[in-house]
Symmetry: C2
Subunit: 461 residues, 2 copies
């Protein structure tokens, strides 16, 4: 029986403590042996607890291939920092062991000086290939494609291909091979070979007679939306990428497109929660974490002060009905909650492609009714609480009415702001929250205090 279960570690020492000890004893074999005994995830978790100096020491102790495999499982931003921290002399062999799309991603994220130092110590043709990959936007076909693929000249036979596969079995076993491509002597794409067709064909057949002709392909400049569209339309595992002259220059895998989509969805969640500038992990330098969070918070505090200034304007009313001060934060917070629900639905529908920015009126139609009904329910609840507390129906009318009106505003605004931002090519996850909160706070304070001003004579009855 081959049941796979997480191994139990019976010693008391934490894996990261053991790693620190092994790094200090400077015994590469013991270190490598211990790391191999951990799952990737446990290894990553342990490494993320080391400080940068220890991480660098550790990677230098390992074989480059092992080091590359190990860091490939780590969060992108961690990889960048680790590599930046290494001497290019040590970093280059590790980078050379990575897959081409990861190499280009990583080098593109490094400081230009660091990246150049690493590229300059590579073979010139590899460096040139990477420089051209780095020139493509990260979420375009060029940025997502891999250059590890099989391409055969159209004059070869099935046997030639099988011979080549046998000869290079070791190299190709790292490839994600589902198809092989058939090209002209100049590198133009002619057709696609499915591996299962190779299986069941006579070995002397010319591959040009076995291949699927006129294969679909993607241009190197295709955007992520075009790629999603393509893989929605076709159930391929991967597709060939051509340059503007029709030459085969890479392969884009369905998995890479999905991964990129998932990355954006995670980014959206983080930005929506006020984590800006990329992922934050707790092993990052303190000053970076604090500064990034503050950059977001300091914008918010300004917006908050602006919104609260509405209260200052109505200070006279407030002074005469001090009880309202209890309800102002409730109305601000509840409108934020209602609005955020609508924001989340819009962001999700936008990211799934179910909604496009120009469908604003469709969203407004759907949300306005919901805002009205939910507003009446919540307003009713708050009014009831107010009447129960103070026994004054006019107080209930003021705070309940204000919450009802403001829920309507918040829900309509929350549903539409992401569309407007997306239409203006701005990131909806980043800006929707602060815009929503500021506007709904201002409206909410205005509703409560202006209604109260009107009903002031009966409010303290």
């Amino acid at each position: 029986m081959n049941k796979e279960k997480p191994e139990k570690i019976v010693i008391n020492e934490e894996p990261w403590e053991r790693l620190v000890n092994l790094i200090e004893t400077a015994d590469p074999d013991a270190l490598s042996g211990y790391l191999n005994s951990l799952s990737s995830l446990d290894a990553v978790r342990a490494i993320s607890r080391l400080d940068q100096e220890e991480q660098s020491k550790m990677l230098v102790m390992l074989e480059p291939g092992e080091a590359a495999h190990l860091i490939s499982e780590m969060p992108e931003s961690d990889i960048r920092e680790i590599i930046e921290d290494l001497n290019p002399l040590h970093a280059t062999p590790i980078v050379q062991e990575m897959r081409s799309d990861h190499q280009a991603d990583l080098l593109g994220q490094l400081e230009k000086k660091e990246a150049d130092a690493i590229l300059d110590s590579m073979k010139p043709d590899k460096a040139e290939e990477l420089r051209s990959l780095m020139a493509y936007p990260e979420d375009s076909a060029g940025g997502l494609m891999i250059t590890e693929y099989l391409a055969y000249d159209q004059r070869l036979t099935v046997n030639d291909v099988l011979e080549d596969m046998r000869r290079h079995a070791e190299t190709y076993s790292d490839y994600d091979v589902q198809y092989a491509y058939v090209i002209t002597a100049e590198g133009q794409l002619r057709g696609v070979l499915r591996l299962r067709d190779l299986l069941i064909s006579p070995r002397n057949k010319l591959i040009v007679n076995l291949m699927l002709k006129n294969p679909l392909s993607l241009n190197v400049s295709s955007t992520i939306q075009e790629l999603q569209h393509f893989f929605n339309l076709h159930s391929f595992f991967g597709a060939p990428v051509l340059d503007d002259t029709g030459r085969l220059i890479g392969v884009i895998r369905r998995a890479s497109v999905k991964e990129q989509t998932q990355k954006s969805s995670n980014k959206a969640f983080l930005k929506f929660s006020g984590i800006v500038g990329g992922e934050e992990f707790r092993n990052m330098p303190f000053s970076l974490r604090s500064a990034r969070r503050l950059s977001w918070l300091s914008i918010n505090i300004v917006l908050n002060i602006v919104a609260a200034s509405v209260i200052a304007i109505y200070q006279d009313t407030l002074e005469k009905a001090i009880v309202l001060a209890v309800f102002l934060p409730i109305i601000s917070d509840m409108s934020g909650c209602s609005g955020n629900q609508a924001v989340a639905v819009s962001i999700r529908e936008l990211s799934l492609g179910l909604l496009r920015p120009r469908e604003l009126f469709h969203v407004l139609g759907k949300e306005s009714l919901l805002g009205l009904v939910n507003g009446l329910v919540l307003g009713g609840l708050l009014a009831a609480a107010a009447v129960l507390w103070k026994g004054n129906p006019y107080l209930g009318l003021v705070v309940g009415g204000a919450l009802a009106a403001n829920t309507f505003v918040a829900v309509c605004l929350g549903g539409s702001v992401p569309l407007l931002l997306k239409g203006m090519k701005t990131d909806p996850a980043l800006a929707s929250g602060p815009i929503l909160t500021t506007v709904t706070d201002m409206c909410g304070f205005f509703f409560v205090l202006s209604f109260a001003t009107y009903l002031l004579p009966v409010l303290n009855g």
Copy 2:
């Protein structure tokens, strides 16, 4: 050139309007032709605009295979509702065309009566297979595995296997075939055949001599964490799933595990924003959308009222320094922002497996310093704003000090609440927000108003 670009639609009619027209004319060929001219995404988007009656009419008009393909691209909750709405007579042929894991997922989500009606009209052995698949939790190996795989008796030769593949090429082309499995006459797993090994072997070789022996496998009851662990450790595209007696009963694909992980991450984002009970899309019935959002909001309004009661206790202080009312919502909102950042980082680290619930003190250590520094900065900003506005340094001291203290509380709490909830097997994405907001609101109001009570004599100076 095979450039893939989104087609431009030059007519003014929206795709969903055209669909409605085609459904009304009851011409299946025209409908099917039009749907085929759209990308999956455009088709899904158009269908999501139809009401349920139109959707049902449309699916009944199409070939079952076509209908199954079409709805497979739709959000899960939409599929459930569409199938529930159909007569079992029409639903069964469509469900039969779906992949086994999707069939089991879907049937498991239907009302028991509906599911039974569909199962009863299937072949008994297929129905039995599905009932057993449905018995596994959705995120276990049993729930995620597919039953479309290739398994060959150990006494066969390479040629027998290739013959079978040739004969069933049509059926197998729907399979995600990377490996074939070798089993005993009783169905026990013996080994794994890689397709590329079949390619390069003599055809009279026994597969038992070609297979990789002692293959790794997963037990049917493995949890999603164990599956993630397994695929982190091994770079397979898929792995065989065995029952407790060692019989091969399914295959789990790496892609399914990734998909399930992504699903949880999206769910976390939605719950964190107050969308509960699953995805919400705007084509869902109004009453469902409104009720689900309200279920979340009504808990929040109660918590908000509880938090605001702190203000009511200090009404005397507030009456004597009415200016504080302007700052209460600011402190409540800013503490929420700071706390949510810490929540998001914890949820993300937990979901990546970088953090475990028992590492509470690690998190507290990291967050307390950050809370202190960010608190001092934000408190300083708010104090400055207060002094600029009213020229009273004591007011600055009260509101700035309260914001500083409360930021510290919010950041420590935000970082640790998700761990505590996870440790108690509660969903951190769902409950962290309300708990955080309520506690930080109460603390924030308490800090402002108790500091103010102490400094009251000089506050209006």
